[in-house]
Symmetry: D5
Subunit: 162 residues, 10 copies
């Protein structure tokens, strides 16, 4: 069994039952919707109680429930660059705004990155008379590059800009 | 003259003068910092008065000033997938969270996309005792897919979910 | 079930029944032929009543009908560059005429794009004594790049050329 | 001298002189604007009189004028998929609408292609209260696939659908 | 059913029956051998009577016969560059002789291409005491690039070299 | 000095002098036009006397003449798939007709290839009332795959079909 | 049936029966081991008697035996660059030693190639106190590039270095 | 000025002066050798005092010194997969051992990654009678994937395995 | 049967039985955990006794047990660059630290590589109050490039730096 | 200065002086011709005395001589797959014979590889009445995969086949 087969199975049941993601996320509970949907699409894991709840909801086997509790091979199955317009626009934003984001984040925070692991994201609708807007907010911990000496000790240069 | 040569020239002067982006953006004025830095890095255009201000600041020729007022070939010079860790993390976020974002945006808004053109973005520091966080906020107009009949008329199905 | 499997099923029934696309599009109704064919080939969605009509025509299951009402992962399955000559010629037109189109559209409209979402397309036969011609017409809303200040406000520079 | 160097030179003079494409095309004359701009950007050729006119306008050398009269290595320098949003949208339209266009053109015309050589294109602005639209119209000769027998004779099956 | 599945089925029957291509092409008739073999391998279409003959020969279903009468997604399944030595040599000939062919065809015919649609090809054995030679002959209609004015009229510059 | 720099130099002189390829090939002599043009474009070598003649014609240095007598890194600088329509059509012919050519050559000659080394090619114009045709003829020695035993002896199975 | 399926079947039987390649090659006979193993892995063909012997050994059907007698789509299924270390080392040797091999072979033999078709290869163990060595020996016919005049006659310049 | 030009300049001076990396790193001081060499090769930054020391050592201009204090576009100029054998072996280790590392790290630590930012590395020689060994040691902070609820709060599921 | 199918089967049983890798490696015994997990994931082989133990544990057939004792096509199925964040970080470390590792290893050891074959690796947890760290240690035999004379004799220049 | 620039310089002098590789290798001495040519083409290093000899022969600067004594970034500048026919044939041999070589080497030697580092190669002409043959002989040390236990000790399973 591959994780992508389990995803197909879950989507087929979702179609059959006419459930939407909001309902499914509510039944499984505990996490932000985006994490639960990601897990069911094969890019995040559920905790054991969540996987059990999902197993009950979708009528899954023991091995399928265990699979939902495993860390998947993240990113599998997303063609890059994305062919889908909704996903491509996000890719394009990285490609075009990336260099400026790098310059400004490094000027503000020093040498490091915004973590994609200690990270959260939310989506919201912003009403607008000219047409509603999609708002995506994200925060990621700033991780300074570790500068170290011969002994591997942390020299902390990443944080104080020198 | 290529746009990338002009970018190199501007960066060399920035180094020579020991200016930071905040100062440069302040001198040029009018736009968000991210847009001005993007323009100087070759992915956005400046307006004529802004290009003139940049020309004065950096001592540019008439043709160089005109080039800053031109729409560049956006995205040129950003290797994808990005080799730089700061940029790669953003790419990774699209690859891994993309499918869930698509599912949730379409469930909330119907068939369409978040525009990458009628779009704005801001970066901020969020203080946090466990380590400050980088916050990236963006809003883009939701554009519903146009469904049309034989005459090309807009059938408006994208917006009302049917 | 994958969308591509549903497409294969629909095409097999079309072969079996000796239907052509014009007939199928007429039975489903409501949209331009190009949208309906695109939906059946897995790149657009049908509305619920259309999906129901398609379900009746092709004898589809409840989950298959629901799938036709879902936004697909657009662009999946089209190899790029296209290997098929008919499709490759369109690709070639973009590659060769693209730079001039960019120059002329930006000179006429300012900084922005022709939307591929708020977009319509039609195909027609143009009789010609030297050999009939294929006519493809398309209109897309011009979307000006949003230029914004520190507060995210729209500065409207995209439209008035400055 | 490479064609791309000549293109850079022409663009630098255009910036210096503050000419727009409409003016340049008018000075060179004879062809549609899109062809003249394409030639100056390195994807089409000018006729000898046109190349001479361009040479006078831009102050080009004899070899440079001769180069404008040569068929260039078309498509050179356009990254595919395009990184620029304006060009990418056209690429996306081919990727997503391509399969339906193939199905409908073949149903209407039989086995063959729309020529990208015996081909013309025009761009226009369509005023619209919700935002003006870019209109791209193109016609290409329909070329039926030649079906031939052992002697290489044309069997003409491409045109009459059998 | 995919076209490639039908191809596999036809090849299995060919193996079972110990037929060669000459025999098969003779039974289907009407076209050059190369076209018939191409159609059975999924890159050309057969006419309705030919598809019926193929259906009788191979014992195909109604949908399979209809599929042979459809224009396939040409080029699907040929890896490029080809891994097979026989095919790679042809690819190599294009890569290495291509630039000279372009120079000489354009010098002789003007700006345009040799059509790959209005095109025929034949293979023959040329006896030679040092080892027989494979002869491949092909003719394609010369298609001059259409040069047109603002009204889309054909300016015919492609043919008379100017 | 790179071979591509020498090619650029030769092309610039050709433009300056208003020579065509026929004239240049006549001055250098000895080989088919296609070989001489290929050599000047960097894909074939000239013999010492030919290189000397080319050196006299174009006013080349001793090292440049020696370079024309060297075997170049063939195929360098031809993007594959070709972006130029004239070259792409040849590439497409390989991709689409390749599988049938393989089947028919192997049926006629046994297991082996048409050599791309012991190979010749010619181009001609074929007058035709519906539009002249480009004729490309090529012959390549058939090279049977060597089948050998443990001692490396040639078992000659490639030629007699067994 | 695909050639790769037949390969899987043969390998499964080899595992079941605990045969090694030496035994299998001995049973089929006639060719060098490397050719027989290549054929069973889908990159060479067996003669009819050999295919029959293989069919008897592995218990194959008539169509499967016929498939072993067919020229396969060589190279299919070998990812390049190879991911497997044993294969990658060979690839690396070509990449790194290739330019020197080209220079030295051309200096010794003139303009041409070592044939990969009229070619044989053998592997042997070379005992060595510091660790045994793998010895790979290969010979390929030197094929001089054919230089020809306008009539396609062989000018034989490839062999005598001029 | 590009970072790669500065790297070339530094390497040329290193050759001229016959310095080795150990000496250079000693002169610049403060960081592990691997960080200093990485910075001089364009993948890390030096602090201001270090950049000044490097500037004195290599005789650099003010802008060049400032460039060494900038965060570079990391990873630029390393072809992947690496063509160099020393680098390729490291790449291969990731490709082949990666899946097992993922399984074991996740079993030991839960869902998360080894940081490549809060990371240190050291190289050492391990004497061995059969041939000395290269020892590479690295430690990276384990970063648990953040699981969060609707409010973006950290749910801490990554650490305690559930 | 493909190796990847066997891997899927083993993983399904592991889920069903709720075993972890530590338990499985203990049952099979003899090798480091990382080697056993790699073998079960299809990148290493087990010895015959280990394969038999694995066969007993997982209830495998004779052919499946034999397959575990075969050298697999290593690296198959790991997409590169890796899409999974845990694996990507390792890839990134090679890309960014690779050039400095090359410089320092060659300065210390001379011309050669760290073997990826005569190689071992271990993972450990390093407790740390700021968050535990993953420690990866590896040693590989240093292999000096063999420099040899015309007779193929080893000149041993790789080891003593000259 | 890049290594490729030094290669170009050396080749220009070789052309100017009309030297062949045999003469150059003789002047530098000590190594097999293939190693010396590889070093001058940028894929191997020379020892200090050899680099000095090359420096005298070609009139090189101190930094250029030092560069010849450096380990280069091997493999840089060889496009893969190779476009040149002589090099491509070697690549093809790996792609097509690779799987059988893997099977036979592993059957003979156990799990491991033929080293590409402890490796030598020679080229020779083999006279043959049907056309001389190129003989390439290579030997590489067989390196058994190290199998190790938890303590990193060598378990030596690679050599004795179990």
């Amino acid at each position: 069994m591959k994780r992508s087969d389990l995803t197909e199975k879950i989507l087929d049941i979702k179609r059959e039952k006419e459930w939407n993601w909001k309902y499914i996320a509510g039944e499984i509970g505990g996490f932000s919707e985006i994490l639960i949907v990601s897990a069911l699409l094969g890019h995040m894991k559920l905790t054991k109680p969540q996987a059990a709840a999902a197993g009950k909801l979708f009528g899954l086997s023991k091995a399928e429930i265990a699979m939902l509790n495993e860390v998947p091979m993240r990113g599998a199955g997303t063609p890059m660059p994305p062919t889908d317009p909704l996903l491509y626009r996000l890719y394009e934003l990285v490609m075009i705004n990336g260099p400026a984001l790098k310059a400004l984040i490094e000027e503000e925070f020093g040498d490091g990155i915004m973590s994609a692991i200690d990270f959260d994201m939310e989506i919201a609708r912003v009403a607008n008379p000219k047409g509603d807007r999609v708002k995506i907010g994200m925060t990621g911990k700033f991780l300074p590059f570790k500068y170290y000496g011969a002994t591997g000790n942390n020299l902390e240069y990443g944080l104080k800009e020198e």
